[in-house]
Symmetry: D2
Subunit: 304 residues, 4 copies
């Protein structure tokens, strides 16, 4: 089958599926999203763009932004970064304080909230105006200067950030947060409120499929060695407590967000994104998981 045929098949199959997920409700602004939004976009190194549905409508990328902040931090720092955050999968839910307490304030990986907060702290230490820099970085790898945050989501998350403030205070007590808690929390909330469409997100994720280079203008954003490491972390840690399931069923590195988006890549082949707001009990887009499983099944190949 051709890629567009495969995507059409996935769309058709998905629309007749009963979806039992629920839209994230812990942030009021996210709870307002139409649960029927559904879009997918596939960007192949060799053959360009394919897609369907709401592929051009922007949504809140939420935790997918953790990949961008990690990437920016890795362009600035070498492996010393991994003395402050580990690369092991976490068996616990995404905002758990438990492992953090047992492991003396060193988060399990950069994609659980605690780890992303440490990355935010590293960015605050390393660069001036990290909010603007991170937004600029996202615009650069997307090749689109109009990417921006959603100010309503930003304000809404500001009011519901006690859990992350708890994580920051705990890590600060262990000495693993260096800057002012409010500043670090502000950067983290800012990055989570960035909005992108499936097409934009697939374009940005092309650097992970293309050895660190943007495809359109061929800029080397980060080294191939570092891209491999980021992909490895996405593989084992990209889906909270369901990373094994995603690896098992889909077989590609990827990262999900509670806005209902998933971005995934096949190194050397393509970047793919899907958006459907209802989440399964593990916090990942239910239809998005299904669509990506069908993609690797119908194409017949994954990284394994």
């Amino acid at each position: 089958m051709q890629y567009q045929q495969i995507l059409d098949t996935i769309k058709a199959e998905s629309l007749i599926r009963s979806n039992t997920g629920e839209v994230a409700s812990y942030i009021p602004e996210l709870a307002k999203i139409d649960p029927d939004k559904f879009g997918m976009h596939l960007y192949c190194i060799n053959s360009g763009h394919y897609g369907f549905g709401n592929e051009d409508e922007r949504f809140s990328i939420q935790s997918i932004s953790k990949v961008f902040s990690l990437t920016l931090a890795m362009t600035l720092l070498e492996d010393e970064l991994f003395e402050r955050v580990d690369v092991e999968p976490s068996g616990d839910p995404f905002n758990s304080l438990i492992q953090l307490e047992y492991e003396n304030g060193i988060p399990r990986n950069p994609f659980i909230n605690a780890g992303a907060l440490v990355i935010a702290d590293i960015l605050v230490s390393a660069i001036e105006n990290p909010k603007q820099k991170l937004l600029d970085f996202t615009r650069k790898i997307t090749g689109n200067p109009t990417i921006d945050i959603n100010p309503k989501v930003y304000d809404s998350e500001k009011k519901h950030s006690h859990r992350n403030a708890s994580l920051l205070n705990l890590m600060k007590s262990f000495g693993n947060i260096k800057n002012d808690i409010e500043t670090v929390l502000d950067l983290y909330i800012y990055q989570c409120s960035i909005e992108m469409s499936c097409r934009e997100l697939a374009t940005a994720f092309m650097i992970y499929a293309n050895a660190g280079n943007t495809l359109s203008d061929n800029i080397q954003v980060i080294s191939p060695r570092k891209i491999k490491r980021i992909n490895a972390i996405m593989q084992t840690c990209g889906f909270y407590d369901e990373a094994g399931e995603f690896t098992f069923r889909v077989g590609l590195p990827g990262k999900s967000g509670v806005g209902g988006g998933i971005a995934s890549i096949h190194p050397g082949q393509y970047a793919v994104t899907v958006w459907s707001p209802p989440l399964n009990v593990k916090g990942n887009s239910e239809l998005g998981m299904y669509a990506l499983e069908r993609l690797t099944t119908l194409t017949g190949f994954s990284i394994f």
Copy 2:
């Protein structure tokens, strides 16, 4: 560099490295192994065999056997197998009862001890004489009818199996063990006491690199779809509490054993095995981890 050059480089680098690991001592028979044993074998789909050191000396494969028992079980059963064992990485040490208790007797994955014991229980239910059948299966994929267990290791483990008996009793209390505990434990200990050399193990692991086919006589042992799933589980769960680190540093699916062996594969490319008895604090061969990291660094490619 050519493959043999790469292996020679790894050997040279490894020999001047100070090794801080310790040989597994919880089973007396394993504690007797010469810690200086060191061998590596690379078996490429396109270009055959490369190796060095004690590559032809047999050692106790221990937990690497869990890959073979899972594979045999998956040839007999479809996805209902995964109702009794999950595919998620475990943040806890390999014999932990904690997650098992929280999760009502469903092990996190088939490569922690609890999960491998459930697989053993499944084999006891599904086939007659499972010990012989599992040995035959191992001989078949290796193409070598002389593969066998080490009876001293088998006897030694029999006397030190209270931890596994504890896991079995706990899972039986949750209804997730169907057969007699002694029978299941016996099969498990039997499989762990199989001995193979690096060369033999690389030959056996070729089915995971070669879409389910043996390379020498091209027998389809298991479907490509199932092989992908086993590889995915090896990627996220193959190294106890260090699966993320292995994925991060090496970037290949693999499985380690406390005998000091590691078997790993690059799908479509090669199977590779290394043996060095001293283990790091996470229970994986210290030098083996290093050798495989150097392999993907020097060849310049992993699955990511």
Copy 3:
């Protein structure tokens, strides 16, 4: 109010109360008990016996036997006993393996299952024919040679002991069980299947209220110092995960069993027992807890 008036009041109040508890069902033989059984017996040092309801019907004392086995062990050993079992309350349910694993096989206290199994192991090491000896000890402090086990309960528990076998194997792997697992488990199940009435149990518990002496024939069974220590453990650990609640509401040392019995004492004053099979979610007799709370409220005094 006089004691008998107080008991009559408790009976009247209890009978009009809606009871939401459920009879223990994990052992089939226990599940057969009539949930409406209800008896209470108060044995005062100064004024003798008071009671009502099914106070003379024997029931399975279950975990209340842990007090007798600990007492027998403490008559045989000094404080070295507490190197193998701690005296701290456990925040986890009564058969939890979690704390045991974190704390290297040393149970939190002698009244959780793991701790009682260590005490059973100590008795197996210390005396010949410990089953008979423990029964004899119970008969002696009760002054009643007809006390015996219920063989149906004994047989029924034998078939449902995987959880305790799991605990024993785990502790054996840590070196904290010295004898054969089957032998220790057999003693434990035997002691749990002892049957006594409220009157008999209050008579036996008089040694804890009366500084180690039986009241009828004034035999010093154990020293006052040791009785104080047992009472202290009953206070902090006698009610699984509800020890604080019992101390808070009732204010007396005591021990409950899943058969629906509770035995409690006021040092220097009385022993009191109550039996009502339906258990609350924490595994303690719901009506029994209420009756004892009313007793200390209506008498106006507890140990605090």
Copy 4:
């Protein structure tokens, strides 16, 4: 022996004991205390005051203040208070976030930090100027208007309160903190920095031994029923992870603080306090524990 003789004996025994504890160092101001300070004061309902050593030197009462804040809250509220904080012992260290996360933001008891912070939140909601009110309450039960905080300790703790801020944020995310985090934290730090001598503390604690009445001027501060409940909580939860050990060895309700103080009572008999800064590994005064154990051993009676 007479009480003063007993105290003299304890003093003599204590001075020749080797003390392996360490002065609390997590707050710089506390770390400056002379480790050789040692005082004890016994205040008997029937026979007045006894003491020795630095019994009249004020020290930081720290967590002992949790008893006063709970008492004040219980004078203002009925049992609805215990919907927001439980009364069960905690198996974990005093500032653990783990149980709090498992138990949805309801602290195990009012004497772990999380529970004391909920009590502080309750006081902030219930009264105006809670800092002054709590200080006034302490002065009233002590009969001494000069009791005050140590401003250096107060300032020092302000700078080292990330762990408590983490607890507050976590509970706020569960809805169990109603007021501004800074305000609640400020009250908590304020109460911990109150300074009292052993004599003053024993005088204040007399209300717990004397059914809620001050002894000197016989003011009913709180009802006997509520005092019994506070004493019960002190018994099961007063010594962090060592409450069972204290109950076992000493057999009295009490509360310790990291400043090295312990206050304890025998209902109907006496209040007793001891101060020695070096703490054991569980965070309780090492010599204080010993002195109180000797007191109940030499007097020959405890509540059990």
